[in-house]
């Protein structure tokens, strides 16, 4: 039971970074400027690297011989445990960076907490990943400020992105059975405990960006427990997984 919950939790961590990593990689070669193109590709690669560690450990703990690649490429939508936020389409560049910042501001706190996990393997992965996430949140935060407090055009787009994505923030802090089990085993923090730090960070950045956080706290949910993903995830998986589906077992 305890291992089942840990497997679920690790799939959540790994699927977040997998799905967001793939989304961000969709900008490769088509970003507005070369410097951002490389920066986004770096971010995507960081996230995919973290995925290998999370899903690799998930496979070990599950004990059915599934590798990180098996979990990433051979599961279908209903087995994914990522937040709805990260599967949302890229939209314009501003929308991508807003999604990135909202995720990063949560991610860096989650990883920080996980460095103190009672499971040494999880603590080690978190210690490696938190350095990458700290840079990600700095970069995405600066870009949100730059574009939000930029021209009328960029400000309008950033406000629209925040309005669009804010309803996906709440899911990050919902505490369910898996989280309860992780909390009582000392493996992971109570998601609620991350909220205060997230709120003050995000409020600061949005204030600097001259953006208004929507007052409505309605939250879409169903991603991290796999009950109800948005229609976008399936479309993304057809792209991400097509090679393994078309040529099963293909390798380098």
């Amino acid at each position: 039971m305890h291992d089942n919950a840990t497997f679920e939790f690790l799939c959540r961590m790994g699927d977040n970074t997998l799905v967001l990593g793939h989304r961000v990689s969709e900008w490769c070669g088509v970003s507005p400027v070369l410097e951002e193109d490389i920066a986004l590709a770096n971010t995507a690669l960081d996230l995919i690297g973290q995925t290998q560690m999370w899903l690799g450990l998930a496979g070990d703990i599950e004990g059915k011989g599934r590798s990180a690649d098996d979990l990433a490429m051979l599961r279908d939508v209903w087995d994914f445990r990522n937040l709805l936020l990260v599967e949302q389409p890229n939209g314009d560049f501003g929308q991508t960076l807003m999604r990135q910042f909202l995720f990063d501001a949560w991610h860096v706190r989650m990883l920080q907490a996980l460095t103190g996990s009672s499971d040494k393997r999880i603590a080690e992965i978190a210690a490696k990943a938190v350095k990458e996430a700290s840079y990600h949140v700095e970069r995405s935060g600066d870009t949100v400020i730059g574009l939000g407090d930029g021209t009328a055009e960029s400000h309008g787009r950033m406000q629209a992105a925040l309005d669009l994505l804010w309803p996906y923030v709440g899911e990050m802090f919902i505490c369910d059975d898996v989280d309860e089990a992780m909390k009582s085993a000392g493996i992971a923090p109570d998601p609620n405990d991350l909220r205060a730090g997230f709120d003050s960070h995000v409020t600061q950045v949005m204030t600097d960006a001259t953006l208004l956080i929507p007052e409505d706290d309605f939250a879409h949910k169903g991603g991290k427990n796999g009950h109800r993903h948005s229609e976008h995830l399936g479309h993304m998986l057809t792209q991400m997984q097509w090679l393994q589906r078309a040529y099963p077992g293909a390798s380098w």
């Binding site: 400027v33 070369l34 410097e35 490389i38 920066a39 770096n42 970069r139 600066d142 730059g146």
Partner: protein, 113 residues
């Protein structure tokens, strides 16, 4: 027309009277490597401000663990010699081999220099 003292004097500027819009300033990036004693020029990039130039340099020029320190200098702040002055600037020293300290016998007591 090349602007005097530009870091790229041989590259004509696109109609200086009509500045290009929507283009971030150019920055020259200098990186000190793991074992390097000094910063070396590695290339250039565009960025809106100094902070962004450092971040972009981190992503463009240090992804393979190249460096431990970054300097960014706005290209327009670099004064450069002009290639067309190559003759008067550098050729006179070609014929002055005596400026190399190779004509002295170094006493053994001095040791390695």
């Amino acid at each position: 027309m090349s602007a005097p003292n530009s870091a790229y004097p041989d590259t004509p500027e696109a109609q200086p009277e009509k500045p290009k819009r929507h283009e971030w300033p150019l920055w020259e990036i200098f990186i000190r490597g793991q074992h390097g004693m000094s910063h070396r020029h590695v290339g250039s990039l565009h960025a809106a401000d100094a902070e962004m130039a450092i971040k972009n340099a981190r992503d463009v020029y240090t992804r393979r663990n190249e460096g431990v320190s970054i300097w960014a200098v706005q290209a327009s702040h670099i004064a450069a010699s002009s290639p067309s002055h190559k003759g008067p600037l550098y050729e006179p020293s070609e014929s002055k081999v005596y400026r190399h300290p190779t004509f002295f016998d170094i006493p053994d007591e001095v040791g390695a220099m």
